[in-house]
C-alpha cells in the first residue's frame, strides 16, 4: 500500500538492515526526541518502536502545531465565532480542541458559522464570495504553514478582499529547540528534526541552535527508511561522541531551504514572543503580522471577549511536549482525557502525542 516514489523508502528488507545496524551501534540508553508530530504518527504507524533495541527511547516533542497553541489563542478562535456576521475558517484539527468553556465544534453545533478548509486560500475565496460577511482564518502552524498564510494576505490585499483577516498563532521551530535545551530537567541525546518544516528552513535554519547546544541532530522524512536512517545517524554520532547536524532527507531538504517561502514569510510576518501551551513564553518564537499588514489582524479588527482561563488542572501537555513525561504518566490520560472527550490538545490533534499513544498503544 504505497505510492511509487515512496516504495523504496518503505522497503522491508532495507528497514530490517537499518534496524540491525542501529542495534549493533547502540551500547547505552539513548533518549531521542522526534520534534514533529507527523514523525510521532509515522513512528507508530510503521511500528518503528517495535523494531528498535530497548535502549532507545523515542520522545515526542513540541512539533504538533495544535498542541502548542496556547489556551488563550484557542479561546480567541472560539470567541470569534460568537461575533455577528463572522465566518470562522479553520483547519479541521482545531475543531475539537477544548477552550476554557467551549470548542469550535460545539459552537458550530450551536449554529455558528465555522467552516473547515483544506487551504487558507479557500478562506480567501469564502471571503470573496461573501462580501457582506467577515471571514477570519485561524492561523496555526510552523514554517510549513506560515508562508502560505503570508501569501494569502498578499492575495487578499491584491484582490481587494478587505473582509478577510487572520488571528496568527504561528510559531517557529528552531526557537522551540533552544527553549527546550534551556529547560531544567530536559535530557535529550539527539533530535530527529522535522521533514516538512526543514523543506522551508533548510539545514541552515537549525545551524545557530545546533552550534550553541551541540546536540546530535538529523533532519528526515516520514517513511520508515527515512526515520531509521536518521536514528542510525544519531546513534552513530552518540557512539563516536561527535555531534553533527545531518540531513537524512536530501531528496527534499536543501541547505538554504525554500528561499522564496522564507522571503514571503519575512515580507508579511515578524517574530514576536509567543506563549506555547504548557511551556510558557518563548522569546522571539512566534510570528505576528508586520505593522503594514495589521489591518488583516483579526484582533485589531474586532473587540473580542475572551474568557480568562488557564490550562486544565492536571493536564500534563507541557511536560509531554518537552519530553519530560510520556502520556501514560499524565493523571488524566485514558481517564478523563480520551480522543472522544479530550481535555488537552495533545489528545485532539491527529498528530498529538497523547492521541498517538491512545490510538496505537495496546
Amino acid at each position: 500500500m504505497s505510492i511509487k516514489h515512496v516504495e523504496e523508502y518503505r522497503d522491508g528488507g532495507l528497514a530490517r538492515e537499518l534496524a540491525a545496524a542501529i542495534k549493533s551501534v547502540t551500547t547505552r540508553e539513548i533518549r531521542l526526541m522526534e520534534v514533529c508530530g507527523t514523525h510521532t504518527m509515522a513512528i507508530f504507524r510503521h511500528g518503528i518502536r517495535t523494531v528498535l533495541p530497548k535502549e532507545i527511547t523515542l520522545l515526542s516533542g513540541p512539533g504538533c502545531p495544535v498542541c502548542v497553541t496556547s489556551q488563550r489563542d484557542i479561546d480567541c478562535f472560539i470567541a470569534l465565532t460568537s461575533l455577528e456576521n463572522v465566518i470562522v475558517a479553520t483547519f479541521g484539527d482545531l475543531m475539537r480542541v477544548p477552550g476554557t468553556v467551549s470548542s469550535l465544534q460545539k459552537e458550530k453545533a450551536k449554529g455558528c458559522d465555522v467552516r473547515i478548509v483544506y487551504s487558507v486560500f479557500d478562506a480567501v475565496e469564502i471571503a470573496a464570495e461573501n462580501p457582506d460577511k467577515e471571514v477570519v482564518f485561524c492561523a496555526v502552524g510552523f514554517e510549513t504553514t506560515t508562508p502560505t498564510v503570508a501569501a494569502s494576505i498578499l492575495m487578499a490585499q491584491q484582490r481587494k478582499v478587505p473582509n478577510f483577516s487572520i488571528h496568527s498563532a504561528h510559531k517557529t521551530t528552531p526557537a522551540a529547540l533552544g527553549a527546550l535545551m534551556e529547560t531544567p530537567g530536559v535530557a535529550i541525546d539527539g533530535f530527529i528534526l522535522p521533514g516538512h518544516v526543514s523543506v522551508i528552513t533548510g539545514t541552515d535554519g537549525y545551524r545557530e541552535v545546533f552550534e550553541r547546544y551541540q546536540v546530535p541532530s538529523a533532519i528526515t522524512g516520514f517513511e520508515p527508511v527515512d526515520i531509521l536512517t536518521a536514528i542510525l545517524m544519531l546513534v552513530q554520532q552518540t557512539a563516536a561522541g561527535k555531534p553533527a547536524l545531518e540531513n537524512a532527507y536530501p531528496r527534499a531538504v536543501s541547505q538554504a531551504g525554500n528561499t522564496k517561502a522564507i522571503q514571503i514569510m519575512a515580507q508579511v510576518f515578524e517574530t514576536c514572543d509567543a506563549t506555547w501551551r504548557g511551556i510558557g513564553v518563548i522569546p522571539e518564537s512566534g510570528m505576528t503580522l508586520k505593522p503594514e499588514f495589521r489591518s488583516f489582524d483579526a484582533l485589531e479588527r474586532f473587540d473580542l471577549e475572551v474568557p480568562q482561563g488557564g490550562e486544565p488542572k492536571g493536564c500534563a501537555c507541557g511536560e509531554i511536549l518537552m519530553g519530560l513525561k510520556t502520556p501514560e504518566h499524565c493523571p488524566l490520560y485514558k481517564r478523563s482525557c480520551t480522543p472522544a472527550h479530550p481535555v488537552g490538545p495533545c489528545m485532539v490533534s491527529s498528530e498529538g502525542s497523547c492521541a498517538a499513544y491512545y490510538r496505537y498503544s495496546s
Partner: protein
C-alpha cells in the same frame, strides 16, 4: 454522552457513534434482535428467516465520479441485507427533498436507482416523498429499507469469528471514501478515482453456494475496514492480525491518502465485503469471490487469533506491529 448537543462525530461510524448506539438507542428499543448489532436484523416468521435492514443517505456531494446518492442508497441497503447471508428481494425508498432542487437532478437520481435495483435483482415496492422548505435540508436525503430471505442452513453473524479463521477482503479499499473527499467542494485535485459502489448480493450467493464454512460477512462502509474489523473482534471476543503488505489499495487512492493524511483503513467502501472463513475453506471461498464481477482483487489480509480479544493488530511492512483502533472522530486532514 457527555456532549449537550449532537456533534458530527456522532455520525462518523467510529467510537462516538457506537457509544450513542449503546447508551441511547439500544436502551430505547431494548430487544434481542437489535442487540446483535449486525448490519441487518434476522427475523424468524413462521420458520422462514428474513433479513431486514435500513439506512439513510446524506452524502455530499450528491454526484461524484462513478455514481451518485441514488445507486449508493440502493446498493448500501442491498449489501446490508446480503451481509446477513440473505438474498435481497424488496426495497422501500424514502425521499426528503429540499425545495428548489432541480427536477432534472431528481430524474437522474431516480433513473440511477432504477438501474441499480435492476442490477441488484431487487424491486422497489413502496416509498414516500417529502419536500421541506429551502435551507431545511441539503438538496436530497434518501432512506432505503429492504428485506431478503436467508436460505436454510445459512448462519453468519459478527459474533461468529473464531481463532484460526482467515480474513478476506473482496477488493481494493478506501475507493469510495477518497472519491467523495476529493470531489467535495474545496478539494480541487484531478484524479481518475471513482466510487466502488456495487451490489454484492450475487457475490454473497456464490460465497454461500461454495459450501465453505463462512462465519462472518460484513461490508466495511463508514469507518472503513479498520473500524469494521474492530466491531467484529469485539462482537466475537477474538483478536485479529492483519498484514500491511497484503492490504489492497489502488495507487491513486494511496497517493491521495498520503497527500491528505488519511488512513485508507478508515475510509468508506461501498462495494466491498469482509468474509471471515474457516481456514480450511479460505482458498475455496477466495476463489469464488475472485470469480465475481466485483471481486477480482480479493485477497486474504490476515487471520483471527485467540490472543488480545477485541483488538486488531497490523503487522507492518518493516516487520513491526501496531494496533488498529476503532476510528475516533471524523478523519481530518493534517495541518503541517
Amino acid at each position: 454522552m457527555k456532549q449537550e448537543t449532537v456533534v458530527l462525530d456522532h455520525g462518523s461510524g467510529g467510537k462516538i457513534s457506537h457509544s450513542m448506539v449503546s447508551e441511547m438507542i439500544l436502551p430505547a428499543f431494548d430487544n434481542p434482535l437489535l442487540a446483535t448489532l449486525d448490519d441487518g436484523a434476522e427475523l424468524n416468521i413462521d420458520g422462514r428467516r428474513l433479513a431486514f435492514s435500513t439506512d439513510s443517505y446524506v452524502v455530499d456531494p450528491i454526484f461524484f465520479p462513478g455514481g451518485n446518492i441514488g445507486d449508493l442508497a440502493v446498493n448500501g441497503t442491498v449489501n446490508d441485507i446480503a451481509m446477513c447471508g440473505a438474498k435481497p428481494l424488496y426495497l422501500s425508498v424514502g425521499l426528503i427533498i429540499e425545495e428548489g432542487f432541480p427536477t432534472e437532478d431528481l430524474k437522474t437520481i431516480l433513473a440511477t436507482m432504477g438501474e441499480a435495483a435492476k442490477k441488484a435483482g431487487v424491486m422497489v415496492v413502496t416509498g414516500d416523498t417529502k419536500v421541506v422548505p429551502k435551507g431545511k435540508a441539503d438538496k436530497i436525503f434518501i432512506n432505503t429499507s429492504g428485506v431478503g430471505v436467508i436460505p436454510p442452513g445459512v448462519n453468519v453473524s459478527g459474533q461468529m469469528a473464531k481463532p484460526g479463521d482467515k480474513i478476506i477482503v473482496s477488493g481494493t479499499i478506501a475507493d469510495h471514501g477518497v472519491t467523495v473527499l476529493s470531489s467535495r467542494e474545496g478539494l480541487k485535485f484531478g484524479s481518475d478515482i471513482q466510487t466502488d459502489s456495487a451490489p454484492l448480493g450475487a457475490m454473497v450467493e456464490k460465497i454461500i453456494g461454495s459450501g465453505g464454512d463462512v462465519h462472518v460477512l460484513r461490508d466495511p462502509t463508514r469507518g472503513g475496514v479498520g473500524t469494521t474489523l474492530n466491531e467484529i473482534a469485539s462482537q466475537s471476543g477474538v483478536g485479529m492480525r492483519i498484514l500491511e503488505d497484503a492490504l489492497p489499495v489502488k495507487g491513486a487512492v494511496a497517493g491521495m491518502c498520503e497527500l491528505l493524511g488519511f488512513d485508507p483503513l478508515y475510509l468508506a467502501n461501498e462495494g466491498k465485503l469482509l468474509a471471515i472463513v474457516a481456514p480450511e475453506d479460505a482458498d475455496k471461498v477466495l476463489e469464488v469471490i475472485q470469480q465475481d464481477e466485483f471481486g477480482a482483487d480479493a485477497v486474504i489480509i490476515g487471520e483471527v487469533v485467540a490472543e488480545d480479544p477485541g483488538k486488531v493488530f497490523l503487522e507492518t511492512t518493516i516487520g513491526g506491529s501496531r494496533i488498529i483502533d476503532m476510528l475516533t472522530g471524523e478523519q481530518l486532514p493534517r495541518i503541517c
